[in-house]
Amino acid sequence: MADRFSDGRLADVEEKILRAERLSFADGVHLFREANPLQLSSWANLVRRRLHPDDLVTYVIGRNINYTNVCWVQCKFCSFYRLPGAEGGYVLPREAVFRKIEELLVLGGTEILIQGGLNPALKADYFEDLFRAIKTRFPIHIHGLSPAELIYLAKISDLSERDCLLRLKAAGLDSIPGAGAEMLVDEVRDQIAPYKDSAAAWLSLMRTAHQLGIPSTVTMMYGSVETVEQRVEHLIKVRDLQDETGGFRAFIPWSFQPEGTHLPNVKRAGGLDYLRTVAVSRLMLDNLPNIQASWLTQGPKIGQIALQYGVNDMGSTVIEENVVTAKGAVFMLPLPEIERLIRDAGLRPARRNTRYEILSS
């Protein structure tokens, strides 16, 4: 039976992967365009096993706390926000935040993800007070405030980004979520999120944070209007900054959800495109230790299959996720189900903290 994969088209790239050599921009594009799913799976698996030889697949028990839904940005894909002054806008009272953390601790949780809107009423001192209040009461990791929120916060607080981050860190901010990276290519950002910061501004905020000892994750929202080349450009920008700072802990690709956006005619990216993107990310990002699955958008079946395409982390067992819910796709998975899916894939589930230290396996 002929083996049509031995035809040598991708042999050079495969050689590089086997020798653990860095892949080029052209290699990335070639992988996206030419490699078939089984090749991508085979190679991404090899790299995952090289980085995680114990076959552990990690998850963290965490909770999203959306501290406010007041936001002036009016992203067209968001049905979560309320304009300042509009009916239905809220800022969570402190007691409500504490209660959510208490509930999480009872469940063995270790991380809160604090995200909200760009609310002009909330300045740096609000977050300093909030973080201090949390940290004096609870042994919890504060993973919070995406770059968009931080850039805005520094601006309305008349602080440099550096000073703003320093104050928040001193108050208890432990790490930053990599949300809002979208595509780190301005031609794409201009089309999908024209009011968001530029790619350079996003990367610069992350650079500053990493230099101050605040690590982060990084995302990629693919499947909107970008080209394959632009996906690879995003991956290389992430890899370059990681070379510089080493501050990214995990990479999380997820697909653009066209429903309810101003780009409703964009076709929703399919399962294969997700797995391909995960695998190419694993292969390109040789300096990033963890690739995280996006159960929320892909569902348990594809989320599990992603374990054969380079994923080694299941992310947070989300208790609430208002923003994604508002957009449609949401999958909630109980912890035993996550562990069953990992074991069913022949791998070993392990609970971690936000620093990716194993708590129990």
């Binding site: 039976m1 086997l18 090749q39 085979s42 698996n45 399919g270 294969l272 079946k301 299959i305 022949g346």
Partner: protein, 394 residues
């Protein structure tokens, strides 16, 4: 591909790889090995070798309609959420009259329908004449579509109420318009599982007998395996080998369809939903063991469209169809519980996977006439000819 060779070695699949390359048939132990290895990619790689040697990049789909003519059933299978018992008084039981079934298939689907898939419960009140009238009425309403109807279980019931042997009634059903039979009702050929889950149903040997008669009458059929309940790996391998033997005998099977069990609202609701791994693995192992089957189907309703898309690289060369109506089970694990995939969505699944869509009829003949104008899809090519699909003569 060097990495894959290492991977096959690590997974203990080298011997199976060699056998495939030498064109040798896999045996029971090989089947067990394929279930036991955790390396799904290596299993998929082997299955894809077979898939591509048989079908190349071609992926078959059909514009079809499903009709479930009754939900009344006296078999009380524990894995079924569809049936209503004959003596039930809850008002949920229904029987479509032949006219109602005809009206249902006459609905405007906006495109030509090639296959009508018609299966239902075992309703003891329906006389033989009903089945003949049903097929005739549906055929009259959709003369261009081929009717693929009646599982082996239903045919056993039809011959019982007709009080005549299958050899006599099958030609009559065929003359009425029956073109092929679906593969459902096989479940798992294991006396243990039969006793535990579907004891009232035709037994395993009975299923084989009906299938033999069907094929002998010049009606091709499919075959299935219902997995993801209480069955063991060993029982699944034996099931596949039984099917392979029967195919060697009759040559009448067109396609094998691994069916993922959906526990919701059944007596086995405590069981978990099948995983994506299991869905891909069952397709791959079926492709590897059933070397005398032309086609393996990924039924998207049961395993979700994204997994069905992936399955096109794990052994499947058929993705079923647009399924304009389906009641027996519903897809789990996706955000939507959609029962219909438009033709363009189905074509997207195939082409985005880097495969080549081929529209087929119920008998796996490529549909030759271009339908691009009807759907607005210009790029859908028809069909490399010479495909080894089975004909009605088996």
């Amino acid at each position: 591909m060097r990495a894959m060779r290492d991977q096959l070695h690590r997974a203990g699949l080298e011997r199976i790889h060699e056998k495939l390359q030498e064109g040798r048939r896999l045996d029971f132990d090989d089947g067990m090995r394929l279930y036991e290895t955790p390396d799904l990619t290596a299993v998929g790689y082997l299955a894809n070798l077979v898939r591509e040697s048989k079908s190349g990049p071609r992926t078959y789909y059909v514009r079809n309609l499903h009709v479930n003519y009754t939900n009344v059933c006296n078999k009380l299978c524990k894995f079924c959420s569809f049936y209503t018992p004959p003596n039930s008084t809850d008002g949920k039981g229904y029987v479509l009259s032949p006219e109602e079934a005809a009206a249902r298939v006459s609905q405007d689907t906006g495109e030509p329908i090639r296959e009508i898939h018609m299966v239902a419960g075992i309703n003891p009140k329906l006389p033989y004449q009903y089945y003949l009238d049903l097929v005739r009425a549906v055929k009259a309403a959709r003369p261009d579509a081929q009717i693929k109807a009646f599982t082996m279980i239903e045919l056993a019931q039809i011959t019982r109420v007709a009080r005549r042997p299958l050899e006599e009634i099958l030609p009559e059903l065929k003359a009425a318009g029956l073109a092929a039979c679906p593969g459902g009702g096989a479940e798992v050929f294991s006396d243990r599982v039969h006793e535990e889950l579907f004891r009232a149903k035709l037994d395993n040997e009975g299923w084989f007998e009906v299938a033999r008669a069907v094929h002998a009458a010049g009606l091709p059929s499919n075959a299935t395996l219902l997995y993801g309940h209480i069955e063991t790996q060993e029982e699944k391998v034996r099931h596949l080998l039984h099917i392979r033997e029967l195919q060697a005998e009759t040559g009448g099977f067109m396609c094998f369809v691994p069916l993922a069990f959906d526990p919701s609202q059944t007596e086995l609701a405590h069981l978990p939903v099948t995983t994506g791994y299991a869905n891909l693995r069952e397709i791959a192992i079926a492709r590897l063991l059933l070397d005398n089957f032309a086609h393996i189907k990924a039924f998207w309703i049961m395993i979700t469209p994204p997994v069905a898309q992936m399955a096109l690289w794990y052994g499947a060369d058929d993705i079923d169809g647009t399924v304009n109506h389906y009641e027996i089970t519903h897809a789990l694990g996706t955000a939507s519980h959609r029962q219909v995939l438009g033709t363009s969505a189905l074509l997207d699944l195939i082409t985005e996977a880097g495969r080549e869509p081929v529209e087929r009829d119920a008998l796996y003949h490529p549909v030759e006439e271009p339908t691009a104008t009807a759907t607005g899809i210009a790029s859908v090519s028809t069909i490399p000819v010479g495909h080894p699909g089975l004909t009605a003569d088996g």
